[in-house]
């Protein structure tokens, strides 16, 4: 037998994961103080990210629900071109059959049709411009919160009555109270003068300043006859089970009305372009902040990783002299970092989720900024949303960044030579 | 001759709670001014502990330590620091020098702490480096000096402020015998020329030859104390 065979016959180094784990785990706790500080840094970042991301997503959800719930709805079917230029004649003809089709689409929970026009609104003493909206008094409460925010009086009762509900700010500008009469003066479909005399039965306060300042709601049928619209409407407002379902339902509705050219289905994010962009912008600022935080934490931790390798150079030299392969040492070091990171992230994520869950139940109050928040369709209390995404997003980002940091010192080990390493102090 | 160092009933026990280790027991020792004494004994016999107690680096469990008649063991940490600064010079086995300072700066360090002016420091450090045979090496950092040179800097630093006593703990342990011998030669010269008191702990027979007085320790007790003729 030659010497070569002897060498080959020595078993290749395949120590099990258990050995790695044992070595790594003991090394992690060699310097408990440093380990605790590193854990705290990782956990702190995880807590902040879990909480902030949940807050952000919760806030966005509240904003979208608030903004869509009051008036806009999750989806609208409109005549093509109406969204860009809201003209009276850009209307959906034969609306009742379209509405019936839309209502039959699975996933649609509520449907209501509206027609609207800008007109002069006069009380006994005052005249203001306002947006007159013809609504279906029976179905409107299922797509809009306005019927539920009547501060004085009541909502519209009959489909053909000459009743109106008026936004609070507009009512006060017109010096109106419940029971007063208003005259609506606009332009009919054929260009002739459209006149309606209505009795104010209720005054609403939707919380959206723009709506409260200019909206008058009246029965759709009366609106259609006053403005000579026939069976035309401007929007079929649709509610779905939830925001997640919107794109899917939009597709189904599109298919259901495919035989009606000239109609378009608009999602909330298309109807409320400003809201969508506002959220995108806020999210961008959020990402900037989170990136900066993760970066700072990563560099903070990098030093710990680096030191724990450098101070053990001599020890590694002994390992190498004993015949351990550098690659295996590298693995142990990376495993140490991974244990440390996972432990920190676990603690941070749990704590963050705990805090978030608590806040999710009780809400975070922004008492001094209520009015400001209302302007952004936000309630005075924001409930952070705790879900798989909001809990994992931040910690995953930290893990990714810090793992890269952990690889850097581990690479040094591969270049170590036993003799030099053992000389090191 | 006056006593520079006096220890009475000195005991030191490490971890007095459990698994007590008696490092020193009932030590009675006086060292006179100008002596060149060696503490000998196997490792673990208590040499280092005794030096640390004399130099105020450590505090005894029982007993008293006097340095130039001043009680040492009852001082507060800050006072101990001042005592070491002004009255004690240390030379350790290794790693004696502050790595970020040059040889000259290491020597001047003590004087800077004492508040000496720049000119005085420069003059004294130049003289002392010359005396220990390191002329021209003052601007090197410890990493650029050999082991023997580093120990010479340590000796220079220990004596520069004219301390009452220089405590050297195994100063030659990391040196080859030739270098060790010349370092000891230097210390004895300094002892003879300036009358500086040296206490050197060692288990190196060569050191024992150099020292006139030999105090032998075993298991924390003085077992022999002889002065060569």
């Amino acid at each position: 037998m030659s010497a070569g065979t002897v060498i080959r016959s020595t078993s290749p180094q395949r120590p099990g994961l258990r050995l790695y784990l044992r070595l790594a785990w003991r090394n992690v706790w060699r310097n408990p103080r440093r380990t605790l500080l590193t854990l705290s840094a990782v956990a702190f970042a995880a807590v902040i990210l879990v909480f902030m991301v949940s807050m952000q997503l919760g806030g966005y959800g509240a904003m979208i629900r608030g903004a869509t719930g009051v008036f806009t709805g999750d989806l609208q079917v409109q005549a093509e071109g109406y969204h860009a230029k809201q003209r009276l004649r850009t209307a959906i003809a034969d609306a009742s059959s379209v509405e019936a089709r839309v209502a039959a689409v699975p996933g649609v929970t509520a449907v209501s049709s509206r027609a609207q026009a800008f007109a002069l609104v006069s009380s006994a003493t005052r005249t203001y411009g306002g947006m007159i909206v013809g609504v279906d008094p029976a179905k409107e409460p299922s797509v809009s919160t306005i019927p539920r925010t009547i501060r004085k009086g009541r909502y519209l009762s009959g489909a053909t009555s000459d009743e109106a509900v008026v936004g609070q700010a507009l009512a006060s500008n017109l010096s109106l109270t419940v029971g007063d009469e208003i005259t609506v003066l606009g332009q009919g479909l054929d260009g002739s003068l459209a006149v309606a005399v209505l009795k104010v039965v209720g005054i609403f306060s939707s919380g959206v300043p723009e709506l409260d300042r200019q909206t008058v709601e009246m029965p759709l049928a009366s609106f259609q006859s006053a403005f000579l619209l026939g069976d035309r409407v401007h929007a079929i407002v649709v509610r779905t089970g939830g925001l997640e379902a919107v794109p899917h339902v939009a597709g189904l509705i599109r298919a259901a009305i495919a035989n009606r050219p000239g109609l378009t289905v608009l999602r909330w994010d298309q109807l409320l372009e400003g809201l969508k962009q506002g959220i995108a912008m806020d999210a961008a600022v959020g990402w900037f902040l989170y990136t900066a935080l993760v970066l700072v934490v990563t560099f903070s931790i990098l030093n710990t990783f680096l030191m724990s390798v450098l101070e053990r150079t001599r020890e590694f030299g002994v390992f190498l002299a004993l015949g351990t392969r550098p690659r295996i040492l590298g693995r142990v070091v990376i495993l140490e970092s991974v244990i440390l990171l996972l432990l920190g992230l676990a603690i941070g994520t749990l704590a963050g989720a705990g805090i978030t869950a608590y806040a999710g139940v009780h809400g975070i109050a922004f008492s001094s900024s209520e009015e400001l928040l209302a302007q952004w369709s936000l309630p005075a209390r924001i409930y952070p949303r705790l879900d798989l995404l909001s809990v994992t997003l931040g910690p995953a980002a930290i893990l990714l960044a810090t793992l890269v940091a952990a690889l850097f010192p581990a690479r040094r080990i591969r270049r170590l030579r036993p003799v030099d390493a053992m000389k090191a102090v | 001759m006056t006593d520079i160092v006096a220890c009475h009933d000195l005991s030191k026990t490490y971890r007095p709670d459990h698994l007590a280790v008696d490092a020193l027991t009932d030590i009675e020792l006086t060292i006179a001014e100008g002596e060149f004494a060696s503490l000998v004994g196997p490792s673990g016999s208590g040499k280092t502990t005794l030096l640390n107690l004399i130099g105020g680096l450590d505090t005894p469990t029982a007993g008293e330590v006097y340095l130039r008649g001043q009680r040492v063991d009852t001082l507060a940490p800050g006072e101990l620091a001042d005592l070491r600064l002004n009255h004690v010079g240390f030379v350790f086995q290794a790693y004696n020098l502050i790595p970020v300072l040059t040889a000259r700066e290491n020597v001047e360090l003590v004087m800077e702490l004492q508040g000496l002016g720049t000119a005085d420091r420069a003059r004294l450090s130049r003289d002392i480096l010359h005396e220990v045979g390191l002329e021209g090496l003052g601007d090197r950092r410890p990493a650029e000096l050999s082991g023997g040179q580093q120990q010479r800097v340590a000796v220079a630093r220990a004596i520069v402020s004219h301390p009452a006593v220089v405590l050297a703990d195994e100063p030659t342990a990391n040196l080859d015998s030739q270098t060790a011998s010349s370092l000891l030669e230097l210390m004895r010269e300094l002892n003879q020329r300036h009358g500086i008191t040296f206490i050197i702990s060692t288990h190196d027979p060569m050191v024992m030859e150099f020292a006139r007085r030999r105090v032998m320790l075993r298991d924390g007790r003085i077992v022999d104390d002889t002065v060569a003729a």
Binding site: A280, M281, S300 | L85, A94
Partner: protein
């Protein structure tokens, strides 16, 4: 003093000794500070924009109205033009610009569409330096005089109404005698606002033309004043309130509460972020200093053996962290200054214009580093950074590490 110099030298050299570690912690400190300053500058830019917009969109620094106008901005709440005492105040040196306006709700109709707007009758010359409108004309011309018979409308409104320069629109509103006042105007110019809402909300005509149309006689809706320096506002406000007794004199902060609330919110955000970044950085700093101290246990032991008092050792370690913090802070501020100078021309948000409008922003936001934020962020990082390095420093100084110095 000699000792201080020694400590500084020891600290400086120790920091430079482990360059890689120093560099890494410097990156952490400087990135933290950079992000703090940059975020603060963004937020301040947003605030400035909100405030600037609030003031220049017809509000000015302060306004005078008839009592009741703010609740019900109609012809019913009009007032006489400024009396002699008020006029004398307005001629004062602290006033940069002032003007009277007619400002009432109205409806504007083209042959295609109708929209609700605010009709503003202005002295075209007086609006220079008082509001945005004098410099906002995009096509066509600005108004010539209070008697100009043309109308200036926003570009977005023109689009909506399907009208343009040279075409006619009808404006309807309520006259002082409660009759419906309507009058045709030729569109002489289109203006461009910083926000689309502004373009949709206002139409401008000559003030006297409006007064005639609304049968107001000599009465006006409001007096707007711009001061040379916003800080003079409280004093001027007090004097004007005395001079214009019986009238409603209010500063912009009351007239635009939203702008005020946004500023407060921005402030809170800035400090929340500051604290979070500081904590993240502090973990790294404490750990780094702790490592620096632990691996030099022997060195500190040696210094103590040589007679350096524990306090001085503590100071030396604190100096070390001071060097790190100062260098990191300088780099962070430099980085932030560089970033901000790159964004000198502002961040163009036109692709997200509607979203920007939701947050009260215009089409371009100019990040503006406020001195107070830069100082605040730096002070937080440096002062609290030094504070958090006291722990490692205390560990270095707390006792003589006999083991470390005597055993090899």
């Amino acid at each position: 003093m000699a000792r201080l110099a020694l400590l500084l030298r020891l600290a400086r050299r120790s920091v430079l000794r482990n360059r890689r570690r120093t560099l890494i912690i410097l990156v952490a400190i400087s990135v933290a500070l950079w992000a703090m300053i940059f975020f603060a500058a963004l937020t301040r830019g947003w605030e400035n924009d909100v405030v600037h917009n609030a003031i220049f969109t017809l509000t000015g620094h302060l306004q005078v109205h008839a009592p009741g106008y703010r609740d019900d901005p109609s012809v019913d709440h009009s007032m006489k033009p400024p009396n002699a005492t008020v006029a004398q105040l307005l001629a004062g040196t602290e006033v940069a610009a002032w003007g009277t306006r007619v400002r009432v709700p109205a409806v504007v109709m083209s042959e295609h569409d109708t929209a609700g707007v605010t009709l503003v009758g202005i002295d075209p010359a007086a609006e220079r330096g008082l509001s945005f409108i004098a410099d906002a004309v995009h096509t066509g011309r600005y108004l010539d005089s209070p008697d100009d018979r043309g109308i200036l409308i926003g570009r977005a409104l023109a689009d909506r109404l399907g009208t343009g320069v040279g075409k006619r629109v009808v404006v309807m509103s309520q006259a002082a005698d409660h009759s419906v006042a309507d009058r045709g105007f030729r569109v002489v110019g289109l203006f461009e606002g910083d926000r689309e809402a502004t373009e949709m909300a206002y139409v401008f005509v000559g003030r006297r033309t409006a007064m005639t149309m609304l049968k107001l006689g000599s009465r006006v809706s409001e007096l707007a004043v711009m001061l040379r320096d916003r800080r003079q506002l409280p004093a001027f406000l007090a004097r004007l309130r005395t001079a214009a007794s019986g009238l409603d004199v209010q500063p912009w902060t009351t007239l635009e509460p939203m702008a005020q609330a946004m500023v407060a919110l921005g402030q809170a955000w800035i400090w929340m972020f500051f604290v979070v970044m500081y904590v993240a950085m502090a973990f790294g700093l404490v750990n780094t200093m702790l490592m620096a101290v632990m691996e030099r246990t022997r060195e500190f032991g040696m210094l103590q053996a040589l007679g350096m008092r524990p306090r001085l050792i503590l100071i030396q370690v604190v100096f070390e962290s001071c060097f790190l913090l100062a260098a990191g802070a300088a780099a962070g501020i430099g980085l932030a200054a560089g970033t901000l100078s790159l964004l000198h021309g502002g961040i163009n948000l036109s692709i997200l214009a509607q979203g920007a409008e939701m947050w009260g922003m215009g089409k371009v936001i100019y990040p503006a580093a406020a001195v107070v934020d830069v100082i605040g962020a730096t002070a937080l990082v440096v002062v609290l950074g030094v504070f958090s390095s006291l722990y490692p420093a205390w560990r270095a100084a707390r006792r003589v590490p006999i083991e470390a110095i005597t055993r090899n």
